[in-house]
């Protein structure tokens, strides 16, 4: 097999996805077993006293990680063609985890988000768009509109990946500009998903017609 730039690019994308997903698993494991004072929650004392916040937080943390993992397999043409049942199964898992658990819980958390009103708006908007794109992707596949399904799934997964990009932007900012923590937070809260959305729109625009249809 010749190593073409195409394969090389795929290797880079999948290995970084693998790496960052692993980091996200580590972050998730900080909250196993259920612990009301771990990591992020150490500074969320007031909120974590609320029962609905507890429910939302742990629902979000425990389901989103699977959303991230299931989603990673769905863009492989090879997997989709060879094991279409698997694609379908993981697709349903991905969609239902988002629609039933991850997105609604994200909305509740967004309402209590750090960083003031603009950050709250960002988090809530993110949760709502995530829900909408995922739902639309489901409706499109039901109507057998594959291309539209693909587009909405790209949008949906772009927002799923904001968990990673938000933290990546944070890491970049504190290591370069060394901004204070809350200023950094307020920036990445928006940048984390708007950037991804931009990239995904570009991807949809330039790859839509050429990609193979099943």
């Amino acid at each position: 097999m010749r190593i073409t730039p195409d394969i090389l690019l795929k290797c880079v994308i999948y290995s970084s996805l693998f790496f960052f997903t692993y980091l996200m698993i580590l972050i998730t494991l900080q909250y196993v077993p259920v612990n009301f004072t771990a990591a992020f929650l150490a500074l969320k004392e007031d909120e974590i006293k609320l029962f609905h916040y507890q429910m939302a937080f742990f629902t979000h943390v425990y389901t989103s990680i699977f959303v991230l993992i299931f989603g990673a397999f769905q863009f492989s043409t090879w997997l989709r063609q060879k094991f279409s049942g698997l694609h379908k199964g993981m697709g349903y898992a991905y969609i239902s985890l988002i629609l039933v658990f991850a997105s609604p819980s994200g909305l509740v958390m967004g309402y209590y988000g750090n960083g003031g009103i603009y950050s709250k708006i960002s988090f809530c908007l993110l949760a709502i768009l995530w829900f909408c794109f995922t739902l639309l992707a489901l409706l499109k596949i039901k109507q057998k509109k594959y291309l539209a399904h693909r587009s909405f799934m790209i949008l949906s997964y772009a927002l799923t990946l904001s968990a990673i990009s938000l933290r990546l932007f944070k890491w970049l900012i504190v290591h370069t500009l060394e901004l204070p923590p809350m200023d950094t937070y307020k920036i990445v809260v928006w940048l984390g998903w708007v950037f991804n959305l931009g990239i995904s729109i570009i991807i949809i625009k330039y790859t839509g017609h050429t990609s193979k249809q099943r």
């Binding site: 980091l23 972050i27 900080q30 992020f40 750090n114 944070k170 890491w171 060394e178 923590p181 937070y185």
Partner: protein, 321 residues
């Protein structure tokens, strides 16, 4: 197959180092004040006298404050250059407290660099001055003898100190002013000495055995502080989440330790000591101030320690807190 095994092995190696990427683990926030376990009773001047000029013998009772310096004849290589424009010539602010006269005998104590040492000795009244010769108990490796003089109708102590043992800086000179200490919660920091990044200093630490023996392993990492340390007062105002959530760990550290400085806490931690020594209002008086803290201060300290821990663990990592 071979490749798969090799690849998995490399992957496991890579990933096993990842815990640090999401969180800086084992971060402890240094809080000297809460660690102090002294049952040592601190003496106070019996009849502390607020006259700052010495006209009577009793005018000498009280705190005499200034820099405890290494003599100029001492080698310069003991100086420490922290970072650009910030050097430390090993001077520490000392408080020599003259507590009581008894015949021709005098008792007192000194507070410097987190050490409280009593002294005892004799004094002589001369025509134009008082001459003192006092010694520390001698059961500490860093004990020594003070010799100093106070001119009548003046307000300065001038003298020297000699260590009993061979230590890194065996001699000190000082010129002290009489000062009256009072806790002032409104006291703000002055723009005097900048709070520097002492990380480079860590390297010199290892050779510096004596200081380490004396003061313990009290070095930690700091990011430099920002302007906010001159604006936020954690003694007079109850801080909220909003006040502290955007502070860097250097800011939090200074704002919290300024509380201790207002109470006259004598710092062991070297970077903090050098920083607070430069504040003109600061007097090292106590080595244990836990019981002096006000309710507001206690609440603020608790809040800031939480944010400091979070900043150390998560500020520059991939994870967030």
């Amino acid at each position: 197959m071979k490749h798969t095994i090799f690849f998995s092995f490399v992957m496991i190696l890579l990933l096993s180092g990842c815990e640090e990427a999401i969180k800086n683990s084992d971060q402890k926030v240094e809080d000297e004040v809460s660690q102090v376990t002294s049952d040592k009773k601190e003496n106070t001047p019996v009849k502390a006298n607020t006259n700052l000029t010495v006209n009577h013998q009793n005018d000498m009772l009280g705190f005499w404050v200034g820099y405890f310096r290494k003599p100029e004849t001492e080698n310069d290589h003991k100086n420490i250059y922290i970072d650009e424009g910030l050097a430390w010539f090993r001077e520490n602010k000392i408080n020599i407290s003259i507590d009581e006269f008894n015949g021709n005998e005098v008792t007192g104590h000194s507070v410097v660099a987190g050490n409280y040492r009593p002294f005892h000795g004799v004094y002589k009244e001369l025509d134009s001055s008082y001459h003192f010769s006092v010694s520390e108990p001698g059961d500490d490796r860093y004990d020594g003898k003070f010799t100093f003089e106070i001119l009548k109708h003046d307000s300065v102590i001038k003298g020297t100190w000699r260590a009993n043992n061979k230590i890194e800086i065996p001699e000190r000179v000082y010129e002290l002013q009489k000062k009256v200490f009072s806790y002032n919660p409104e006291q703000m920091l002055e723009y005097s000495r900048r709070y520097g990044n002492w990380e480079k200093e860590k390297k010199t630490k290892i050779e510096d055995k004596e200081e380490r023996e004396a003061f313990g392993d009290f070095y930690s990492e700091f990011s430099a502080a920002t302007e906010l340390i001159y604006k936020i007062n954690a003694s007079s105002t109850l801080l909220t989440k909003k006040d502290v959530e955007n502070l860097k760990k250097g800011d939090l550290l200074i704002i919290r330790n300024t509380i201790y400085a207002r109470h006259g806490y004598s710092f062991k931690n070297r970077p903090l000591r050098v920083f607070f020594d430069a504040q003109s209002w600061y007097i090292p008086v106590h080595v244990d101030i836990k019981s002096d803290l006000t309710e507001i201060e206690k609440k603020n300290i608790e809040l800031m320690l939480k944010y400091e821990k979070n900043a150390k663990e998560y500020y520059d990592s991939f994870g967030r807190g």
